[in-house]
């Protein structure tokens, strides 16, 4: 389905729907990104499994821990563990996962070093995959693994350069700006507040003051990546400037697409609130957890797809990417397995 079929001149809603269809037509992207989270998480998961197993040993306490929650054992483990084990807290249960992680970002809470390293590595992995993902969504047809990873490689170095600029901006936002808002402004605003509800709403206001520029720069860098891929831009500064021009001229549509995606994100976490598993031992609980992660992946891809669809619908056309489909290096093997 092409964007024009909706007769909307690709308004925001049309772009969002187009993006959803693009994601539907790229199931391997969903699987691949989901697998990337598993690949990053699995080594540390095995470490934690080893730590828990060693701590429980052949103790009878393991039975209660296996069947439900053994909170006394859990506290004992936390008192004696370090590294990955220190992150094994009750907030891994059910919907508390979402509460804790969103709170961690909103409050810029410290995390154990090993987790921070895992997150950093995943950001690099995401940056690597981003080029291939946007390229695939922009072309909107199957390219094969070779072309996908070639695109990843082509754009990775450019996105590193973009990432340096983005990292600087995010460092300011998550660092001095966040500190100023919550360690300086918040205490001043709440110094003589005697009603907790008032203090809470003040904090909500400061969260908004933090998130608005965060999302604004996020949008800017998203479209910079899209323009870099679709228009095969080499200069990331140029891509950022071009992104700014696009966002400025199409602010309403850009904002609506973003908000629809945020709404979908909230629906997904709302769904998880309803179905998040408790502490029961069955494999269904793990499956539900992975289903939630897959939905998160889809939401993330939907962001990229709908934004790409909007851009192409406004400034280019569906399926247009300036750069030819990346090819393998010339070799018989490459020709044998390359895209047909």
């Amino acid at each position: 389905m092409t964007p024009g079929a909706w007769g909307l001149g690709l308004g925001a809603w049309g772009a969002w729907l187009d993006g959803l269809n693009r994601v539907k037509r790229a199931p391997w992207l969903v699987i691949g990104v989901w697998l990337s989270t598993i690949l990053l998480a699995l080594p540390l998961t095995l470490v934690l499994q080893e730590q828990i197993g060693a701590h429980l040993g052949s103790s009878m306490a393991a039975q209660a821990a296996a069947d439900g929650v053994n909170y006394d054992w859990w506290n004992e483990f936390l008192a004696q563990t370090s590294g990955v084990g220190a992150s094994f807290v009750p907030a891994i249960l059910g919907f508390a996962v979402v509460m804790k992680n969103l709170s961690t970002v909103a409050d810029v809470s410290p995390m154990p070093m090993v987790i921070a390293i895992a997150v950093s590595m995943y950001l690099l992995v995401s940056m690597f995959l981003a080029g291939g993902v946007i390229d695939r969504l922009a072309r909107d047809h199957d390219l094969g693994a070779g072309a996908f990873f070639s695109a990843c490689g082509v754009y990775f170095v450019r996105f590193i350069r973009l990432g340096v600029i983005a990292a600087l901006v995010y460092w300011v936002l998550f660092g001095p700006y966040h500190t100023w808002l919550f360690d300086d402004v918040y205490p001043v605003l709440t110094e003589n507040v005697t009603v907790e509800r008032t203090a809470f709403f003040i904090r909500l206001g400061l969260y908004a003051a933090f998130l608005v520029p965060l999302y604004a720069f996020n949008i800017l860098f998203d479209y910079a990546k899209i323009r870099a891929v679709v228009e095969d831009r080499r200069s990331m500064l140029g891509a950022i400037v071009a992104s700014w021009r696009f966002v400025r001229r199409n602010a309403i549509a850009v904002g609506v697409v973003y908000k629809i995606n945020i709404l979908v994100f909230l629906l997904v976490i709302g769904l998880y609130y309803l179905i998040a598993p408790g502490a029961s031992a069955d494999t269904l609980a793990f499956a539900i957890g992975q289903l939630y992660i897959v939905l998160r992946v889809i939401v993330r891809l939907q962001f990229a797809a709908s934004q790409t669809a909007l851009f192409q619908g406004r400034l280019a056309h569906a399926g247009y990417v300036a750069r030819p489909i990346p090819k393998w290096p010339d070799s018989p093997a490459a020709e044998a397995i390359g895209p047909r």
């Binding site: 296996a66 907030a91 995010y170």
Partner: protein, 689 residues
């Protein structure tokens, strides 16, 4: 018997004689004598107030105080009538001036707090500091005329740490001395300024909680017991009568120790008069923002109590839960230990950020809750229950909190933990996110009495920093709560598991009956424990109370195999190599080990595959022991201290082993759950890329 004990015994005899004399005076001179009184359930509050309670009424205060919100200060005058019920003459007085702990950063209180790594006044403004200044102190003659002015004789002392900058304790010589049985009357004028909202007393907005606000005499027996104010410790004073008139801005609601006697307006001010006999402190609160609610506590066999709740508007929907917590304390503590004897109990819901929550004063206490408080997580019920419980342990049994805080904190935590278990279930774990505002309740995690509400998890992280017998003010800063609350509660619960709840209830009820309106010491508690259990308990006191040893018993090895042997055995006259297996017999070997220094007798329990069990006692003194069991079946599990009598064992996971462990299943389950959390975190952070 050493000298101190003889003096103490004389003191007890004299106090007992004074109390008997007072009682006789009441019976002989009061027409409405005790025998003629109607049942207390029918007494109106004012009449109930005059029913005498057996407190010695040593230090009596008649106070006038005016609050000036504009300067955040109070000005007061008090007439102190003090009876020397000690065994020696008093040649001087001791006055507590608690707010001087917040006078400057050189105070003992703030220095001790800094030692704990906390410096709350590091960047404070001039206005944030507080003080109490005695402007005049005069001895009052028996005829009421002014006697000697001893203002200039008043000087600060620091007998505990020799900190010459500390101003929390003052002394002045008396001439003549006050002999045992004589009475001293002092008129004291003072002014005080509230410190910023900080540690129990202070002001924020239009909310005032006023505690430790008046110059208060120390406790006299064979000399003065009056300590400087330490961050680690609380308070200690004599019982007496309080008649207090508090003047506050008109329209401000007020709550205080005791019963309101009158209220009068004058211009833009209102003066409240409150009275209470037989208490050892007086606190009050005022604010125009309170919403007042009242509920009558009634239960068969106990006198009724009027519960008065002063609650913040945003918490009004939690009023019933406040009353439920207080009623639970009155009911259960009343049944287990003895009746609450006062006609009123005031619950104060402090203002947000006032730092005055969770603190007890006679017949009034502060609770503290959150705007969002999920049901079935005992907030506010727990803190209300705990502080109401302090009316018994602290208010009536008035231990010296500077030296033995565990006698009220530990007993109270042990007790409130049991009340929660009996009356306030389920009690789910709650954690807060987004700046500690938004609660999340874990419906899979029910807090357990033995571990969670006894705060085992806090205790096990620092079990050996001090011993429980260390005077409270001398505990390492930061360990006071771990020792006085948690270790003491775990110790008492361990005793319960050793001797049954019925025995512990008897111990505590006798201790309560014997020592209410008095100042017991730890030895008094242990004497009752010995008396009721009929056992010496010295080993227990040495191991648990006097030492800082940690306890950790473990099953080090556990095996159950066919009984066999091989080697050279006598065969007629020769040695022959043989391999013997006794078919149908399994040898179960259990090696137990004491991993830490603490020693405690424990049992070893082995369970066999046919359901049979074998139990062996171990005195727990050696570092290890081996137990062998020969049975026709294999064993499936071994446990040391299977009933978990020793709640102070910091590591219970190693107390058992089974030949069919579920650890792989548990480790896989929980690591996969954790993986979902990590994946979600990765997706959340990668949103920016």
């Amino acid at each position: 018997m050493v000298v101190a004990d003889r003096k103490r015994l004389r003191g007890q005899i004299l106090r007992g004689g004074a109390a008997l004399a007072a009682l006789l005076a009441v019976v002989l001179h009061s027409p409405a004598s005790i025998s003629a009184q109607p049942p207390s359930a029918q007494l109106p509050i004012a009449q109930a107030l005059t029913t005498p309670l057996p407190s010695p009424r040593t230090a009596n205060y008649d106070i006038d105080v005016t609050l000036d919100p504009a300067t955040r200060s109070i000005t007061g005058t008090e007439l102190v009538t003090w009876h020397n019920q000690g065994v020696v003459a008093a040649y001087s007085i001791r006055l507590h001036l608690y707010w001087n702990a917040f006078r400057n950063t050189n105070s003992t209180w703030l220095k001790q707090r800094r030692l704990a790594g906390d410096d709350p006044f590091a960047h404070a403004d001039a206005d944030d500091f507080g003080y109490t200044d005695v402007t005049k102190i005069t001895v009052v003659n028996p005829d009421g005329s002014a006697g000697r002015d001893i203002t200039k004789a008043l000087h600060f002392i620091s007998p505990d740490d020799q900190n010459a900058d500390d101003r929390s304790l003052a002394a002045a010589d008396l001439d003549p001395a006050i002999q045992p049985g004589e009475t001293l009357r002092l008129r004291i004028e003072w002014k005080g300024r509230f410190p910023k909202n900080f540690d129990r007393t202070g002001v924020i907005g239009n909310y005032y909680f006023v505690s430790q606000w008046f110059p208060k005499l120390g406790v006299f027996d064979a000399g003065w017991t009056a300590h400087q104010f330490f961050a680690n410790s609380e308070f200690f004073a004599d019982f007496g009568s309080y008649d207090v008139r508090m003047t506050v801005p008109k329209g401000w609601m007020l709550g205080a120790t005791g019963v309101e006697q009158s209220r009068s307006d004058s211009g833009d001010r209102t003066t409240y008069r409150y009275r209470q006999d037989d208490v050892h402190d007086f606190a009050w609160t005022t604010s125009p923002d309170f919403i007042e609610k009242r509920q009558q506590f009634e239960t068969p066999g106990r006198p009724p109590v009027q519960m008065r709740l002063l609650i913040q508007p945003e918490h009004e929907y939690l009023a019933d839960r406040h009353f439920a917590g207080a009623a639970a304390a009155l009911k259960y503590y009343g049944e287990w230990y003895g009746s609450y004897p006062y006609p009123t109990l005031t619950i104060v819901d402090p203002a947000w950020q006032s730092e005055s929550g969770g603190m007890e004063y006679p017949t009034i206490f502060t609770a503290g809750t959150r705007w969002l408080s999920p049901r079935y997580s005992n907030d506010p019920e727990y803190v209300v229950l705990h502080e109401a419980g302090h009316q018994f342990w602290y208010g009536l049994v008035a231990n010296n909190e500077v030296e033995f805080a565990w006698l009220d904190e530990g007993i109270n935590e042990y007790s409130d933990s049991r009340v929660q278990w009996e009356a306030l279930q389920p009690n789910y774990l709650v954690q807060r996110f987004f700046g500690d505002f938004v609660p999340w309740q874990y419906r899979d995690i029910k807090l357990q009495r033995a571990t969670d509400t006894n705060w085992m998890n806090t205790y096990r992280r620092a079990p050996d920093r001090d011993s429980l017998s260390t005077p409270t003010a001398g505990l390492w800063p930061g360990t006071h709560q771990n020792m006085s609350y948690h270790k003491a509660a775990l110790m008492l619960h361990t005793l319960e598991r050793m001797y049954t709840w019925e025995t512990m209830q008897k111990v505590l009820s006798i201790f309560f009956a014997k020592w209410k309106f008095k100042h017991p010491r730890p030895s008094d508690f242990f004497d009752v424990l010995r008396e009721v259990t009929g056992k010496d308990q010295q080993w227990f006191i040495e191991q648990v109370y006097n030492s800082s040893n940690t306890f950790d018993y473990a099953i080090e090895r556990f095996s159950s195999e066919s009984l066999s042997s091989r080697g050279l055995f006598e065969d007629t006259e020769d040695l022959r190599f043989k391999e013997n297996t006794e078919k149908g017999t399994f040898r179960t070997t259990v090696v137990v080990r004491r991993l830490e220094a603490g020693q405690f007798p424990v049992d070893v329990l082995v369970t066999f595959s046919n359901g049979e069990q074998a139990r062996e006692p171990w005195d727990g003194r050696g570092r290890w022991a081996v137990f062998n069991f020969d049975r026709p079946v294999k064993a499936v599990s071994a446990q040391i201290d299977p009933e978990r009598r020793l709640l102070l064992d910091t590591n219970y996971t190693n107390n058992s082993r089974t030949l069919e462990p579920a650890s792989d299943r548990a480790a896989t389950k929980w690591s996969l759950r954790w993986m979902v959390w990590l994946q979600d975190l990765l997706m959340t952070c990668a949103f920016l890329v």
